[in-house]
Symmetry: C2
Subunit: 304 residues, 2 copies
């Protein structure tokens, strides 16, 4: 049924080799990934993988303990206490975030607000961390509006400020942040949000980022926006029930997700960055020559 003329339109972002001028042909992302080697992919630690089951399917989230270790530990505790099972997606604010947490807490229904169990109620903010030379740092070459340096660290989009010696994860599409109250220590991981629109980079260094959605992002982004202020679902029946959240490490082998993430310090990722900076297929009149840190992400695939 496609491609067709009109359908092809934007589509050529996927670049069909047959239609490209071979003399200036550059490989497509799909071709670059096909040429990657097994060692360029890493298997996320199952202790860092959250498997959230919604009625529509699974959302897989990789925690980022290199950047937010106390939050990762608290979220693991919450998950192992089955804290999220039966909670819900409570708000979807257009061009901003999808958030899930305890609806009773949102409703100020203290009688029914779920206990955090043995998880901590407050945590140090973990908005930024001291630059760790042992962590991967793959810089992007084109600068950034918000930070002195941007790039990738262990698969996550990140920023650095050499003058302060700090680094932090950036609020790009698909990143998962820790909602909180006014106090910087009030985020504990019991309420999380995923970025579903233009990167709200003004949040960087003001909220802890817990990780990144690896699969199922479309289940969070493709929901009806909530009509109440801040995108809350005015009618509780609009909420999306969370059936369960489990750590991959705790699942029986047969139920475990098996995914691999392309290493962001690999040669193939560098080629992907360059291919996206300079689109040379026939569709493009003028390659941008630039890339924003939130305009590319580490590819994810099912493990063989």
């Amino acid at each position: 049924m496609r491609p067709t003329l009109v359908a092809f339109a934007l589509a050529s972002l996927l670049a069909l080799p047959a239609l490209a001028d071979q003399s200036k042909y550059t490989p497509t992302p799909k071709e670059l990934l096909a040429q990657s080697t097994a060692r360029e992919w890493r298997t996320p630690d199952p202790a860092n993988l959250l498997d959230m089951t919604l009625p529509q399917g699974h959302v897989l989230i990789e925690l980022a303990p290199d950047f937010t270790p106390l939050h990762a530990a608290n979220i693991r505790t919450l998950v192992r206490g089955h804290y999220f099972d039966g909670l819900a997606i409570v708000r979807v604010q257009d061009n901003f975030v999808t958030q899930w947490d305890d609806p009773a807490s949102d409703d100020n229904d203290t009688a029914h607000t779920r206990s955090l169990g043995t998880a901590k109620k407050t945590l140090p903010p973990e908005y930024t961390r001291a630059i760790d030379p042992k962590l991967e740092w793959t810089a992007l070459p084109d600068g950034d509006v918000y930070a002195p340096q941007v790039g990738f660290s262990e698969g996550f989009p990140a920023a650095r400020d050499p003058s302060s010696g700090r680094e932090w994860l950036t609020h790009c599409y698909g990143m998962v942040g820790v909602a909180r109250d006014i106090g910087p220590d009030t985020g504990n991981g019991s309420a999380l949000y995923a970025v579903i629109g233009q990167a709200p980079r003004g949040l960087d260094r003001n909220l802890a980022i817990a990780g990144r959605v690896l699969q199922g992002m479309e289940l969070l982004s493709g929901l009806p926006r909530g009509p109440a202020p801040m995108g809350f679902y005015a009618d509780p029946r609009q909420r999306v029930a969370i059936q369960s959240v489990r750590l991959a490490a705790d699942l029986p082998a047969a139920q475990r997700p098996h995914v691999e993430v392309l290493r962001t310090d690999s040669a193939t990722f560098a080629k992907l960055v360059e291919a996206k900076r300079n689109r040379r297929d026939a569709f493009y009149t003028l390659p941008a020559g630039k890339i924003d840190v939130c305009s590319i992400s580490a590819p994810v695939r099912e493990a063989k």
Copy 2:
């Protein structure tokens, strides 16, 4: 029912004055808009306003004839020929675009592909235009990854390159572009897309931008993502029917949308930019001090 602790979280983006430290209190966007004067708002020309009726509601789009006059004229011709009535939203690609056009064309069903009527099949690209000193240009101060200068022109996010003397609209969230085939002259406005994710700025200067969604964006962004390649709906029944597209100028007075757009060269818009660059309410530990051209847009309100 809110705000509550957890709900408040991200929410403080809306900054509740009662909770803010008054000594460093800065007005919220809502307060700034309440202080605006009538002359700071403009009423879009009804000849530039498209009212698209979907089963879920209305999507209002303002054309940008200052930048893409031939496309605006062709789209007006298509609309006045009722070209779009009965067509459909055919693809929703996550973190990219929602596109509407003639499904028969996508299906290569030439027997049922709709005629463009008196509209042109091809148009000059109109990707960029010579900088026009008569057009509004409200620069943003923080630079840009993709272009030498960014800012707003007549309410639309835009970029300039003084060295080439060209300016163009930017692919920010909610901008409406003209889908096309490989040939740069193949975009005619019969297939349009709205940006629903991180700004795909690599498309800038490679596609014509027809305008911007003023209202109803959530009806385009909150749709289920299509499962087929490029986000196409694999099953035609997943498509969203377009009941009609009309020019506001052609609607009976009682049915006409009445909206106003804050002038991007107004003092109030400048205050909004500054308030977003430097969030000083109690929620923020560290104001960004920066803003990206795609992180702010001209507010829209119902006319009184």
